[in-house]
């Protein structure tokens, strides 16, 4: 399973630590905001290129095509182990891309801009670390590292209720991760007692013999951390606040990337480590997914703030992703992972479009918005495109993932699938209401009549192109996912 790691160029480490370097440079030049901007842009471009270069190594088969391993804290058998397979490759490319978008869209951020860009870059390291780490403590380290920059991004640059949102986000996610930490340590010690080898390596810990109740307990602890991040239905209440109050770049990273780390944690760690417990939990997961799907859609329909609508739509879409995982077959899993990528792009794009509307009209209330189509036709067109993609229109991004999930779910449990189809209908309702209230209707007077500017085109066009490509031709992504997914499903055992 492990590739030969000797004498290999440490591409993964470079990918991981380049943003930290960029962040330090930003802080060094904190007196010149322009410099920090360019440093951030340069770093994130380099990371994006590197992530594409990493894609060249992809073999399409299961297993790590890039792998690094070094000793770190020998005292506890903690190692610095990174690995990249088809799944992490896609998520890394998504991360690098959205990071680049986040930097460009925050170009005119002038409040403490050095700190802002430094935090964005550190956040990138945290997220990519989560997608690459194969040692549980290393994973935990990056898992927490994501938290700190996001806390400050929301709290310093957020909107009105930023303090409340930031603290709530921090406490919710950290409470979950502490459970994870306890379970990781216990598992480590149990494995050590059984084999005499004290390690945190994922592959070794998978061999630990656990009784069912132990497995269930550990599984629940792991899931506590991941469920908060996803978020799964009863643990979601931090998300609307965090999303709504966050500045646009943080919203893009939150919705596009942070939520994905929860799902990634499940498929990479929770399911393979505790397959029997996972198997038993699938019906519960499916029910929670369906509740989340409907409940969030319903709440989204009642919102008056368009950013809040999109925030709730994220919960709803992640419910879809979770349902695909619960269906536990190749098609559904591929669909889930594809939908994660799609959702990252479309929701990120939607948040950007909303931020641009907000900048021009000074409001995000549906009641006060309207008639953007007349005043800013280009912006309105992009907003419409992204909204329709979010709604699941065939040919656009989300559809390809959702249809695969539905097909896969149908073959394992038709009832779930039937309910889920209803969910698509729900999402049509709130998205159309949002579009109608924003683009059409009586014209509100935007104080800034300017349609899209140069930099805004630069961000929106690639996003729009991606939305169409991901909808029409997701094949390369599916190729990359196929073998790793089937390997994971085999590993987890067919329920």
């Amino acid at each position: 399973m492990t590739a030969d790691s000797s004498l290999q160029f440490p591409l993964l480490s470079l990918l991981l630590w380049l943003p930290i370097l960029g962040a330090l440079l930003c802080l060094l030049w904190y007196k010149a905001p322009a410099a920090s901007r360019w440093i951030a842009l340069g770093t994130s471009t380099a990371v994006f290129v590197l992530s594409l270069v990493a894609g060249l190594y992809s073999t399409g088969s299961a297993g790590w095509f890039l792998y690094e391993d070094a000793s770190w804290i020998e005292h506890f058998g903690i190692r610095y182990t990174l690995g990249m397979d088809g799944i992490s490759l896609l998520l890394i490319i998504l991360t690098a891309f959205l990071q680049l978008v986040a930097v460009v869209i925050s170009w005119d951020q002038d409040k403490f801009s050095a700190l802002f860009f430094a935090l964005i870059l550190v956040l990138g390291t945290g997220i990519m670390g989560v997608f690459l780490a194969l040692d549980l403590i290393l994973f935990y380290l990056f898992w927490e590292l994501m938290l700190i920059p996001m806390f400050f991004l929301i709290g310093v640059w957020g909107y009105k209720r930023k303090v409340y949102a930031a603290v709530k986000f921090f406490l919710f996610t950290l409470a979950g991760s502490l459970c994870l930490l306890l379970a990781v340590i216990s598992l480590h010690l149990l494995h050590g007692e059984q084999t005499g080898v004290y390690t945190f390596a994922l592959e070794a810990l998978q061999q630990t013999r656990l009784s069912f109740s132990q497995e269930m307990l550990f599984y629940l602890c792991f899931m506590a951390a991941f469920a908060v991040k996803v978020p799964i239905f009863p643990f979601h209440s931090w998300l609307p606040d965090a999303h709504t109050e966050a500045p646009v770049a943080a919203s893009v990273d939150l919705a596009g990337l942070l939520l994905k780390t929860g799902v990634y944690g499940m498929i990479r760690f929770a399911f393979p480590l505790f397959p029997h417990a996972a198997e038993k939990s699938l019906p519960v997961l499916a029910v929670l997914a369906l509740i989340g799907l409907f409940y969030a859609a319903w709440i989204a329909y009642l919102q008056t703030d368009i950013k809040r609508i999109v925030a709730y739509s994220s919960i709803s879409h992640l419910g879809f992703v979770l349902l695909g995982l619960a269906a536990w077959n190749q098609t559904a899993w591929e669909g889930s992972l594809l939908l994660m990528i799609n959702h990252g792009v479309t929701t990120g794009a939607l948040f950007i479009a909303i931020a641009l509307i907000h900048k021009r009209t000074g409001t995000r209330e549906i009641a006060k918005l309207g008639g953007i189509w007349k005043s800013q036709p280009n912006l309105a067109a992009f907003f419409l495109l992204f909204s329709l993609a979010s709604l699941g229109l065939p040919g656009l991004a989300n559809f390809s993932g959702e249809i695969l999930i539905l097909i896969g779910t149908f073959s394992s449990n038709a009832v779930w699938a039937i309910f889920a189809v209803g969910g698509v209908l729900f999402s049509a309702a709130y998205i159309l209401r949002m579009v109608q209230g924003t683009i059409w209707g009586p014209c509100c007077e935007p104080f800034d009549k300017q349609d899209l500017g140069g930099r805004e085109w630069l961000v929106l066009i690639p996003l729009a192109v991606l939305v169409v490509i991901l909808g029409c031709y997701p094949q390369p992504l599916l190729d990359s996912l196929r073998e790793p997914v089937s390997f994971m499903l085999r590993q987890g055992g067919q329920p």
């Binding site: 904190y30 770190w72 804290i73 020998e74 005292h75 506890f76 403490f112 403590i137 935990y140 380290l141 927490e144 590292l145 938290l147 700190i148 400050f152 709290g155 310093v156 930023k162 303090v163 930031a166 603290v167 921090f170 406490l171 950290l174 409470a175 502490l178 459970c179 930490l181 306890l182 340590i185 216990s186 480590h188 010690l189």
Partner: protein, 486 residues
Amino acid sequence: MENLVQEAIQNVNMQAIMPSLVLCVFGMVLLMVSVFSKRGNTTHVAWLSIAALVITGFVTLSGWNNPQGGFADSVLFDNFATFFSMICIIAAGLTILMSDDYLKREGSPVGEYYPLILFTTAGAMWMASGTDLMTIFLGLEVLSISLYVLAGFFRDQTRSNEAGLKYFFLGAFSTGFLLYGVALLYGVTGTTKIQGIAAYVQANPDSAMNTMFIAGGLLLLVGFLFKIAAAPFHMWTPDVYQGAPTPITAFMSAGPKAAAFAALMRVTIVGLDGLQSELTSLFWVLAVLTMTVGNFIALSQKDLKRMLAYSSISHAGYAMVGLVAWNAVGLSAILFYMLVYTFMNMGAFAVLVLIGKKGEDNLTLDGVAGLGYKKPILGIALTIFLFSLMGLPPTAGFTAKFYIFAGAIKAGYIWLAVLGVLNSAVSLYYYLRIMVQMYFKDPEEDFAWVKINVPTAISIAISVVGVLYLGIVPGAVMNLAKLAGF
């Protein structure tokens, strides 16, 4: 008695007390130096004290892996003592670095201040290296009496007076308890040597039923638990920590506390090993009580020194988890934890020393609003210390808690680890409140009075490096902590 003296004289081994001897000599010389110095000019005394600590540090370290016992087995300077002595030396050094400008600002630059810190450190070393209850008592007294004076050092400030007096009265009571405990134990076992007590317990398995023995042991524990500020003997902490000069508060929370832990560990794990099951259940309750009381009361504090006082109570609770574990991992974890705590807590206090106005009325939550923007470097430093106190990676607070809880889980105390982790979750809230004030609130003041002076900056820098080094590459120091266990 005569025999004892004879025996002691025959067993003179200056090597075993060399580090503390060096410190005491320096302390006495410096007392004279400050007498002959011009009033108000103490900077040279401060730097000489630093030199004394550096020399002592080298002398202490030269004894690594070369345990020296002597004086009829009443002192044993082993790796364990070396490790704890180094913690106290580091704590004392950081304290002195942040003190000089602080004393000038508060208007009490008196030279005795520094020798008193050196004497405290020497006392702490005797506590860490004592293998006879009398040696430990001697160390405790030297340490305490110097600290009483230091806590009440600002004699024209009501709060400092209150701190000194309160600490003195309660401290005197607790020492009384301790001494009474020693007397009772001597009455039962006929010895004050820790090894002798261990032998007695071994020979009399029913000593757990002996009322006098139990009473003696408990009274002894009360004395130590008072010093480490474990609940329910923590009541003095908030008032004393708030009223004492800030560098002394920082020092008390690190050095003397570590020394008390050292003595407690040696007495219980070596001397009372036979009573392991009884003691672990006692410590289990005390650890949970201590961290819970500390964390929950800290939640409602508005004064930063008071908040950190309660936080320090809760950290004593975390460290006691290692004592409950009663295994090698747990012991090394306490050593490591106390070192880490020294860096992170003293660093946080050093930042407070800098941002306080004269009289320090502004060291409240509202007083640090917007600090992160007006003084970005201090803000980042304090943020690192707070994240470390929370226990987040990649800071040392994480590795230290990890070590402690791993020891507890290994010994089978899963619930204790769970409660500890839950407590950490509670503690997040009040540490976060400080950060929210620093970064999320608009500055109300310009912090123009904050003059960053070099020595304090050095102490902050050392603490930051310590916190990050022990957080990112803790391997080397963890190995030392492992070697320093019994």
